[in-house]
Symmetry: C2
Subunit: 169 residues, 2 copies
């Protein structure tokens, strides 16, 4: 397979995958492009290479910066800004996990503690018990996941997989 084809396949696949970790197709494509680019790119580079509008690129870069995986750079003498991405795949996964935790797990933990223990005379004991049982189980699970994820985030490069590999022989 030649360079052009491979590059296209890579960007497309990354774009499709994006939706499964909560990033839009275009954002994931911008990210993929930055992943395979040896040097930082400008807005115009990205517009040209992906064939999308200036506004779209601007919004995509903003979102990727909010995720903490793309960074803006100044080049002395250049008026345009340059963008690069984190290329260490483990750091990338860690950063995404950290953000997802903040965006997804935390609100669920909040909801569950708010719902708390329900008491209500106008409802069957069975229904009450079921709701309480489910909120308690989810609360436990969310807290445990949160703790595991926190540790994963704190862990330094290599540690996680080294440990895992040892565990799984």
């Amino acid at each position: 397979m030649n360079y052009g084809e491979a590059r296209k396949r890579f960007i497309d696949a990354w774009g499709t995958l994006g939706s499964s970790w909560g990033i839009s197709r275009t954002e994931a494509q911008i990210h993929a492009l930055l992943m395979v680019s040896p040097k930082a790119l400008t807005t115009d580079d990205i517009m040209g290479q992906l064939g999308i509008s200036r506004g779209n690129v601007s919004m995509g870069l903003k979102s990727l910066q909010d995720w903490g995986i793309v960074f803006k750079e100044f080049e002395p003498g250049e008026r345009k800004k340059f963008y690069r991405t984190e290329k260490d795949v483990l750091k990338l996964a860690t950063q995404v996990a950290k953000e997802r935790r903040r965006r997804e797990i935390e609100p669920i933990i909040d909801m569950l503690s708010e719902v708390g223990d329900v008491k209500d005379a106008n409802v069957s004991k069975e229904q009450l018990e079921e709701l309480n049982k489910m909120t308690a189980a989810l609360s436990d699970f969310a807290n445990q996941s949160d703790r595991v994820l926190s540790q994963f985030i704190k862990s330094e490069k290599g540690w996680f997989f080294k440990t895992m590999m040892k565990l799984f022989k």
Copy 2:
């Protein structure tokens, strides 16, 4: 908080969360409803309680069955079918992880191995190296994630968290 409010909050929050693990809002709400229902429900129960159409419920139940987290049940003497969900939260997470692996990680591994090692004379050495470096890194990462996930799936209840907790002290 009374039963009705708590139940509503629970279903809404679960619905919102759904999108982050690749399930539509309605599907996640059907799932939440089954989670807090002591007994299996019929299509009409679900239509009534969520206020959505018959077709929507039918499609939602189909998708949840494809995910392997909702099951159809016969009741002797009853013409209607009843639906229940897996209520063990860890089993639920395991089943979702298994499906996601199949749907997301496997295609990426396939793509990466297809792209393979690129050789191309018409492109700078730097560009070639960058693409090869990224595909190799992602390939490693995807394979490792896949292996960890496989083991997680094979593990029985309790094992994963017990080990984790020991590890993290």
